[in-house]
């Protein structure tokens, strides 16, 4: 990789999202500020104030209202985006199901953060993992570049599959870290996203439709089955759109990133910003001749079970790293991996929880884990 001198930028993840949104230029953006999402919306508010975008930014009084307004706007036929974190996402919770149940292609960027109590403004995946069954597509990002790219990919995916999409970056670790960023030409992004022509909309009075009516015992169930069928097409469409995006950007994304997996016997499976530090640890051990590798999950909903099982077919030991708990059960990613590898009784699969409430993680810790020198459920 070389530093492409024609795009000399160093920006935070938050700014990268605002930049991508500026190029997408949604029709409506209902928004309520919360740390560490705030840099996204204050930057975007400046673009609106400076007349650089025509987006109607609706400053609502809560996240519940932000998602409600997003649902209204999207049902009316507007290209709609928003952003939140932590308590904000939790406060939206009931509206998340309405957005997905109505099959509205809303894009929401989440700067993932811990949940209270006790109060923490720092990063972990508790908030977004709490929304994993809400019927939203969930795409995770490692760094500002990925957030920029996947914000663009996510908008197109939402409109292609008719489901809401959550693009997730780690609060602070990514949202507030300044890193090199290559941005695309605005015209190229506009062309890639295309014009949004909703199949149905409330404002299409020639073809009247109803959104969110009551569904009684004889029909509710079918609606929910349809929703699962819509989600079942997400992985394939995500891959198609990622390939189209690769053509204009040169950057390749998939369901997950495989790092030095070819002959790896011991493999870390993880999500998000910590992947870079872990890759450095993998390199360190590879120098010593250890057969270690890594998988970084990018698409969490729809979860690519078969593809992951196939990628891990030669592995002997898997360590799944979660940045969230499921108190009373196993942590979320570990549970998915266990299901995906349920036929592999020959394989040792262990779980480690790390980074709750913004706890720092160091390369040395990953080295210890990969060398079998760490034997604890929590990386503390």
């Amino acid at each position: 990789m070389t530093n492409n001198k024609k795009n000399k930028l160093a920006l935070t993840g938050g700014y990268a999202v605002a930049y991508a949104l500026r190029q997408i230029e949604p029709d409506v953006m209902p928004i309520y500020p919360i740390t560490p999402q705030t840099p996204i919306i204050e930057t975007y508010a400046k673009f609106v104030a400076d007349g650089e975008v025509m987006t109607e930014m609706i400053e609502v009084e809560s996240e519940h209202s932000a998602m409600s307004a997003a649902i209204g706007a999207s049902a009316a036929g507007a290209r709609t985006a928003t952003a939140t974190s932590s308590q904000g996402l939790a406060y939206m919770h009931e509206m998340l199901y309405i957005a997905s149940g109505m099959r509205l292609p809303i894009l929401m960027v989440v700067a993932a953060r811990a949940l209270s109590a006790p109060l923490s403004i720092h990063g972990d995946h508790s908030d977004v993992m709490g929304s994993r069954d809400a019927g939203w597509v969930q795409i995770f990002c490692e760094n500002p570049q990925e957030v920029y790219d996947k914000t663009i990919i996510g908008m197109k995916l939402a409109e292609r599959v008719g489901l809401p999409v959550m693009v997730i970056m780690d609060g602070f670790n990514t949202s507030h870290s300044v890193e090199n960023l290559e941005i695309l030409d605005a015209k190229l992004v506009k062309k890639f996203i295309g014009e949004y022509l909703p199949e149905h909309s409330l404002l299409d009075i020639e073809n009247p439709v109803t959104y969110g009516p009551v569904a009684l015992q004889e029909s509710y169930f079918e609606f929910k089955i349809d929703q699962e069928e819509a989600m079942a097409k997400v992985a394939e469409e995500y891959l198609k759109i990622s390939r189209e995006y690769e053509k204009i950007s040169g950057r390749k994304y998939g369901f997950f990133e495989e790092y030095r997996l070819e002959d790896a016997e011991k493999v870390l499976v993880l999500i998000g910003s910590v992947a870079g530090t872990a890759k450095d640890a993998v390199d360190e051990l590879r120098k010593k001749g250890e057969k270690v590798g890594l998988i970084k999950i990018e698409l969490f909903r729809q979860f690519p079970f078969a593809k992951i099982a196939n990628a891990l077919k030669n592995a002997k030991e898997i360590i799944v790293m979660d940045r969230a708990q499921s108190i009373g059960s196993h942590p979320p990613l570990y549970s998915e991996i266990m299901v995906g590898l349920r036929d592999r009784s020959d394989m040792k699969i262990s779980s480690i929880i790390y980074g709750l409430g913004g706890r720092d993680v160091f390369k040395k810790q990953f080295e210890n884990i990969l060398e079998g020198k760490f034997d604890n459920k929590y990386l503390i």
Binding site: S177, N180, T277, F362
Partner: protein, 189 residues
């Protein structure tokens, strides 16, 4: 001072409101303009005016993947010498690495108060900024000293980035005064 690793790593010690983050970002932008890879982020503690803060900066000719806080810095910058008594500023700093301090004290005086065998570069950034700019701006003034000591980017690149970020915000005259102060810190012994 020359690279001894792929990546040059900095820690800035300051107090909330002194602008360490801005200083690190100006260096980062200049380094990107020169074709390098960068990463800078604050230690995400509670951000209160006057409370001790840490800001990390990495510059490399290769892509930077790690997200861990800097634990083995090549350069430590201290924007406020009252932090020397409460913060372990020389932790991880070897004798061939650099400590740059905004202080009216001489290097040998500072050496008496901390354990450090390496080179101490003291610069009166407060004094220079008051004299040249007429305002307390140690964070931008100290950039001159950092560039002189580390040679991590060209002085012109820093000045160019400074103008790009601040000329519109603070006006051309004020901006040029700051530039003069950065140059003065660069030339100071």
């Amino acid at each position: 001072m020359k690279y001894h690793k792929d990546t040059m790593e900095f820690i800035f010690f300051a107090r909330g409101g002194q602008g360490a983050k801005t200083a690190a970002e100006i260096i980062a932008q200049a380094a990107v303009a020169e074709g390098n890879f960068v990463q800078t982020f604050p230690n995400f503690g509670p951000e209160r005016s006057g409370a001790p803060t840490k800001t990390y900066l990495r510059i490399s000719d290769k892509a930077i993947r790690t997200k861990e806080p800097v634990i083995d810095p090549d350069v430590v910058v201290v924007l406020d010498d009252t932090l020397l008594s409460s913060q372990k500023v020389t932790e991880g700093l070897d004798k061939n690495e650099a400590l740059i301090i905004n202080s009216t004290k001489h290097s040998h005086e500072i050496r008496n108060t901390i354990r450090f065998d390496g080179k101490i570069h003291a610069v009166d950034a407060n004094g220079i900024s008051m004299e040249v700019v007429g305002q307390l701006r140690p964070n931008t003034v100290i950039l001159g000293k950092i560039i002189k000591v580390t040679e991590i980017v060209k002085l012109e690149s820093i000045l160019e980035e400074f103008r790009k970020i601040f000329e519109e915000k603070i006006g051309k005259e004020n901006c040029e005064k700051n530039i003069l102060a950065i140059e003065k810190a660069y030339d100071s012994i």
